[in-house]
Symmetry: C2
Subunit: 646 residues, 2 copies
């Protein structure tokens, strides 16, 4: 008890950060956080690429998904416990509570973008419904009730009790940071306090995140409440000391990515979402503690991820069996599992790593996922979602669907798109960081306290022009950190029309330090030349093939645009150019890539399986690539990201 008091005494006054000033992560007092996210409300997306995704999320996806959650009993699962209708059976799999929590989190963030008293009233009502189902002990879960109450904390590997609590906590925090209302947050704290009372190292009862998620929620609860016990509970979960008491098998350990000390992990394996949430929570823990063993493990895992386990779309998870990581370079295109939630989990992991370092490589990985493997997860209509985001399909594959009984991905996509602005800008002691480029305005302040407005206008992702106007309330020296994406090999930067003193390198932040005065402008010209990407030859399915990327956008060949040949029967001809062309009427306005490719003299499905002479594509054929994220937006079709080069 004394140690806890001491620790509290040493803490900076993070609790004083008003709720309105807290961002997606509240890192102002976090020792290892170099970057501090600005509040979601400080950034207003302006008409452009990502705002259109946010608009459809808020205008269409969030309201229609609540209707679907109601139709499938997700809310009634709470209502029936308040006594009104407990003779109706509970519906859906055991983790549906988390779907509603994630929906609330997305809806909460959306209020920062677009105040909506009716939506706010809905959240308040749902909060009452949820809390009416909470037991006086603090326990709350709609599955482990009645005859299943005796199974509480007995099915630690599969039970998802702590996973649901984690999402309740995150929803409560999001709504608190949006409105100042603590009701849902306090409900989650009551459950957390129940855990603190009865669970922990022996002689308390053992606890395990069978699906990691609570770790990061607890870190954020600690940042919100400045009560170190919540971080300590996360530390206990990450410490993996309960393997013996819980009789965990090797396969459990691999699958759930918890149950052994996080710091003994050397590679990603098992369930991709579990593993990446575990890493995200561990990164949060490292940010708070600076424990070097955690940092070493996080670096090992990050390198393992990007050197052999991440698809070119930022998607993650190679195997349907166990929704799992594969071995290094096991990146099959059609069989790729690449769950939307896994791409988001990778995005969140990189968000923490970026905050702890200011290293652009993490933002680059975030961008790859955001514009491609996450962006693909929701259709342009905002009503169809991908659970899987494979890199090749046939027209028989049904990838976009309005509903999944395991409804984890749709609200996860919503909470990401609704809060997008919160990822765009960060501050540090040195100044302002621009992480992603889309039309937006910032209304916030430097860490010195000086109010700062900024306006960013760009044609991104289709065009390379970016213009930033800075308006600090007074002239002040600080650094403007501009991320130079890895794909922008020839970036030009002008400050007030004159070449910048520093020359920009891809995959770094360009640091422009000077006394900035109101109205100063920075112009970037990002190099959005179409790029041909080669995979490491160890990736069995990508050998001899390339993917096309232009700016942050990864492209795919879809049958819709290619009447001349099957998309599986064409090859890129390195002697002819790839021509970018903006198609205003296609898919809401996208830049397509056109190319005079090659196809076979007769379709490959009429050719033998094995031959002594090499089949050669030699017949010219016009082919058109569209952004990968739009795949199947016009209905199922054959599609492939990786295309042979002849």
């Amino acid at each position: 008890m004394r140690a806890a008091v001491l620790l509290l005494a040493l803490l900076p006054a993070a609790a004083q950060t008003p709720w309105r000033d807290q961002g997606l992560l509240e890192l102002k007092a976090t020792p290892q956080a170099r970057l501090h996210p600005v509040p979601v409300r400080a950034v207003t997306l302006q008409p452009g690429f990502l705002k259109s995704r946010q608009d459809v999320t808020i205008g269409k996806s969030i309201p229609t998904l609540l209707t679907l959650l109601e139709e499938h009993g997700t809310v009634d699962n709470f209502r029936r416990l308040a006594g009104n209708s407990s003779n109706t059976p509970r519906r859906g799999p055991l983790y549906t509570d988390s779907d509603l929590y994630k929906w609330i989190e997305g809806a909460a963030w959306s209020l920062n973008v677009q105040p909506d008293p009716k939506l706010e009233a809905t959240i308040d009502k749902l909060t009452d419904v949820i809390l009416a189902a909470q037991e006086t002990s603090g326990y709350l879960n709609t599955w482990f009730v009645e005859d299943k109450a005796k199974l509480r904390f007995q099915q630690m590997v599969t039970g998802h009790e702590l996973y649901c609590l984690g999402h309740m906590m995150q929803a409560g925090i999001a709504y608190y940071r949006t409105t100042g209302k603590r009701k849902l947050l306090d409900g989650s704290i009551r459950f957390a306090d129940y855990l603190l009372r009865d669970f922990g190292p022996a002689p308390k009862q053992p606890l395990l995140t069978g699906h990691p998620e609570l770790e990061l929620a607890l870190a954020e609860l600690y940042r919100t409440t400045v009560d170190r016990r919540y971080l300590n509970l996360a530390a206990y979960l990450l410490s993996g000391v309960e393997r013996e008491r819980l009789k965990l098998r090797d396969r459990d350990i691999a699958y759930i990515f918890s149950g052994i000390p996080f710091t003994t992990r050397t590679q990603f394996e098992g369930h991709a979402v579990r593993a990446l949430y575990a890493a995200t929570g561990a990164a949060d823990y490292w940010l708070e503690t600076g424990d070097p063993a955690y940092r070493r493990t996080l670096d090992l895992l990050w390198n393992d991820l990007v050197s052999g386990k991440m698809f070119v779309t930022g998607g993650v998870g190679s195997r349907a069996s166990g929704e799992a990581f594969g071995e290094p370079w096991e990146l099959p295109n059609r069989q790729a599992y690449t769950e939307s939630c896994a791409a988001i989990a990778g995005f969140l992991f990189n968000q923490r790593m970026l905050a702890g370092s200011g290293d652009a490589k993490y933002a680059d990985a975030m961008e790859r996922a955001l514009y491609n493997g996450i962006n693909s997860g929701m259709s342009s209509s905002g009503t169809l979602y991908c659970y899987r985001n494979p890199l090749a399909t046939t027209e028989k594959d049904r990838i976009r669907n309005p509903w999944y009984d395991t409804c984890c991905c749709p609200p996860n996509l919503q909470r990401t798109f609704a809060a997008l602005g919160g990822y765009f800008y960060s501050t540090s002691k040195e100044g302002l960081w621009v992480n992603f480029y889309d039309n937006s305005t910032l209304d916030w302040r430097l860490e010195s306290g000086t109010p700062l407005k900024a306006t960013l206008t760009t044609g991104q992702p289709w065009k390379g022009d970016v213009r930033i106007t800075l308006s600090p309330s007074k002239q002040e020296e600080f650094t403007l950190f501009l991320r130079i994406p890895s794909w922008s090999l020839g970036t030009q930067v002008l400050v007030n029309g004159a070449p910048a003193p520093e020359s920009p390198s891809p995959n770094t932040y360009l640091a422009l330090r000077r006394a900035w005065k109101p109205g100063d402008t920075v112009s970037l010209t990002l190099d959005v030349a179409s790029r041909i990407i080669h995979a490491n030859p160890r990736v069995a399915e990508d050998y001899g093939k390339v993917a096309l990327q232009r700016g942050p956008i990864v492209y795919a060949l879809e049958q819709h645009d290619n009447p001349g040949a099957s998309v599986f029967d064409v090859a890129i001809d390195p002697r002819t150019p790839i021509v970018a062309e903006f198609a205003p009427d296609l898919l809401g306005g996208v830049t397509v890539l056109k190319h005079q490719g090659l196809t076979y003299s007769s379709p490959l499905d009429q050719q033998p399986l094995y031959t002594f002479s090499q089949p050669k594509a030699s017949k010219p054929v016009s082919i058109t690539f569209v952004p990968y994220y739009t795949f199947h937006d016009r209905g199922p079709a054959s599609m492939t990201v990786w295309v042979p080069v002849q």
Copy 2:
């Protein structure tokens, strides 16, 4: 009843074929059979490639596997039902009876090659053990007894009762054709008659081969007994009329490859062994009836198999999940399931198709499997078996094992190798067919009745020379059909030293018709040049890569022979030759292929996952290929069949 009598009256006198003269298939009275196999005992393999496989099967594999079957309770499962030890529990999964039956079948065929009174006595004793467990009704299965007896014929999709009976029948037939002893055969007939009594179209109880196999066994029982009721039972099983009565789901239908009319199938899907046994049984049914709907379906399926679902090793079955076929061109190398039993089932399917046509393409598919994907299934020691035969492995993969609880593959390999000679030669009205080339002598007769001896000497598979000496007991005009393999692009044929009048084309039988007299010789020079095989570009993992084949042997790069670089880091340099070299001390004496290939300046596992410039292998490295079938024979190692071409 009248129809049956009529049918019987129309039958030729197949029953008169003495047991000694019956081959692996007894097709002499089969209407659609153009080719008739010679008895197993009519062929004696002489020292050479395949005889070494047969020798180790008979000398080592068969005796050691019986010991293992005893150790794992497979025989005790029968003994305990004879009353001696029924308080010991049954052991192993529900299909272990079939393992013993298949072992008996292999042991029975081996007696044709090498008489062994002790082994024969063992089979007699085992027969008594088995039959002591048979109920007076005829029912026999060691799983569905005691408290499980009520489940008989209730678990038609998963139960394997009919599968076990099929193998009992085949074992009984093999032993009868070897020794004339009918005891085991008659036991299986009693069970078959029990089925005929109570099962069949309504109002009888419904029957389904949840694992097809009984179909082909019933066809052979019909050929052995000339009792058409057994063929009719096969017809009923193939007719797939019980879908509704058995409430079969779509996924069952796909997985078990039965339960709907066989003639409505258009592609191979589901469990590979089930599907290929079903097709084999259907081919048997077509051979007997000539039903054109069956022939159409068989042709469709065969084309489906060879045009997109067969590995270059003759292996079959792309997915571990469901041990199943994939979609067309879904042929992953490391993930390949390619169960030994599936390669054998494909071999048996092609055996029937060959008998019905005399088309060399079927023999070619048999050869591809026999020398590669089947041959790999048993180690040179005869004591390690592959369940899976993937086309790429790392050193972590444990593919060769002494025992599997699902012990289907080891005895399946044994029955194949033990009876090899029975596949080599066939007769038809026109004369003699030579299907496979290895050192052997034939002592049989033409269908005219003229006794015929033949001697074949060859250096196959390593050398192209084949010399056949024919010794009919008197001069007689007949056709000698010599299979010209698909890989022999430039074959030379001499008859008694003079060029043959017909010019040989790959993948056909060369028909040499003349009055043959004792001592006539035919010399073939097969073209065993090393061949580079390309896969259809639709095969995602093989694009830009090649496999090497020389004669019937498919090659692989194994790490054991390649210290210069990882086998996953090398490429073939098309500008340098591939040199065949016989290595007498390696792997029992094999021809290896040597090549000055290329590797990368730094190992690929130290290079990035994605790059903007193409990684090029440009550093010369000596690489050595060994026959695929020997993979892991020297212990686990990285191995790959498909190798990039730079």
